[in-house]
Amino acid sequence: MVYIIEDKCDYCGICVSVCPPNVIELKENNIKILEGCTDCKLCVYVCPYKAVKENERRI
């Protein structure tokens, strides 16, 4: 699953714009990934500041 490093986030909304299941909630200065993330990683790719990260897979 992905997570957001808020210290890097600019709250620009580009991750929200590409999210297929529409599960990112962005208020003025507050961002959350809600239930229903499909782990498609589009948000990881497009983030201009690389503020969205993938959790390392545990073996």
Binding site: V18, P20, E25, K27, E28, L42, Y45, V46, P48, Y49
Partner: protein, 392 residues
């Protein structure tokens, strides 16, 4: 605030405030909700607009139109410069002031506007949109309306709450970082665009001067170039560019953002619903310019909404007048730009260098933007026809 309105508009950008202005002037009871503290701030934009489009709405006022420029320079990967002295000027706005002024105009026309109102859902009754759910300082409540206009920008969720897939495809999103810089090296009478796979793959770097020693400098790269985990981010590209071209720069603002550079959504209305601006993917797919397009869409949507209120008919069939008028005007132009975009941003650095060279050898004087598109696309005759049509 009342419990019920004719029209609720989600989002206070140029699309939303223009829709509010025209809906209110047509007699509708309008409420506009904006999640941010301020209308127009923070700005996520390079703030450039064309003269003709702007003047359809307003006469440029130095309070918010801070620079007027006729000289455009297109810079090839090898550094060759093609200079265009365009008849139509480009204006650089101060959007913080501009967006605020648009909101004031809408308010003077009778629209109510509230900031810090986050819309978190849509009320749907009998498959018809009939209001919004929102949050204000932690308090949740609902407001009813006959029409909801989603003008909630690139991050739009309104359409998706109503079953319209508006999420932007990776190939259609430009991911951007911009710095407003202070530097002695800025030439305040020229707008610059830099192209090349190493400079901005699938996009470009822009330098939009806001005045003496001040400019918006940014980079946009296409989403498809972001998949590699070792990739450079737009921020890396921008830093490289600034180090090379403006090493003395102070950075007064830094921002990130996304622009839909898409063909345009097929469906932008439903029963009781209209989508406007970036929410409907209406920015120009080549340039990413979306301010005036959002205003043009807002104007049509606002008028159609007022008309629907007079007739008390909020059905999709009634509201389809909006996409009809949009498709016949900017919508059609954007489709042509989208076809051109695929070729233009596919050029290799070698081709770009060759194109620039040929312009400089054959016709260095009196080049227009139209000449540039026609010349660059000459190996693709159908696109040349598109270019001739969009730059009539």
């Amino acid at each position: 605030m009342k419990e019920e309105y004719d029209v609720i508009i989600v989002g206070g950008g140029p699309g939303g405030t223009t829709a509010a202005y025209y809906a209110a002037s047509g007699g509708a009871k309008v409420l506009l909700l904006e999640k941010k503290r301020d209308i127009g701030f923070p700005v996520r934009c390079a703030e450039g607009v064309g003269e003709a489009g702007l003047k359809e709405f307003l006469n440029p006022d130095p309070k918010w139109a801070v620079n007027k420029i006729n000289t455009y320079r297109l810079i090839a990967p090898d550094g060759n410069i093609v200079t265009v002295k365009n008849k139509e000027a480009g204006y650089i706005l101060n959007r913080r002031v501009f967006d605020y002024m648009l909101a004031e105009r809408a308010s003077e026309m009778g629209a109510e506007i509230l900031t810090r109102m986050y819309v978190n859902g849509i009320i749907i009754n009998d498959r018809t949109v009939s209001g919004v759910r929102c949050e204000y300082l932690g308090k949740k409540f609902s407001i009813r309306s006959n029409i909801v206009i989603g003008a909630d920008g690139v991050e739009s969720r309104v359409g998706r709450w109503c079953g319209i897939k508006t999420n932007i495809k990776l190939r259609d999103i430009e991911t951007c970082v911009q710095a407003t810089i202070s530097s002695k090296k800025i030439e305040s009478d020229k707008i610059d665009f830099y192209f090349g796979k190493k400079i901005a793959p699938g996009g470009y770097v822009w330098v939009f001067p806001k005045g003496k020693n001040l400019a918006n400098v940014g980079v946009g790269i296409a989403g498809i170039y972001t998949k590699n985990p070792e990739r450079k981010s737009p921020l890396d590209y921008l830093n490289e560019f600034l180090n090379k071209h403006y090493p003395d720069a102070s950075i007064l603002t830094r921002l990130a953002g996304g622009v839909p550079c898409a063909e345009g959504l097929k469906r932008i209305v439903a029963d009781g619903l209209m989508l406007v601006g970036d929410a409907a993917h209406q920015a120009n797919p080549v340039t990413g310019g979306g301010i005036v397009n959002a205003m043009k869409a807002g104007r049509i949507a606002g008028k159609v909404a007022a008309e629907a209120v007079l007739k008390q008919d909020f059905s999709e069939k009634m509201l389809r007048e909006y996409p009809k008028q949009w498709n016949n005007t900017v919508g059609e132009i954007n489709k042509k730009f989208y076809r051109m975009k695929k070729v233009i941003f596919g050029f290799s650095d070698k081709s770009l260098n060759a194109i620039a060279k040929s312009f400089n050898e054959t016709s260095p004087e009196n080049l227009t933007i139209k000449d540039i598109f026609v010349g660059a696309l000459k190996k693709h005759p159908p696109l040349v026809i598109d270019a001739l049509k969009v730059f009539k």
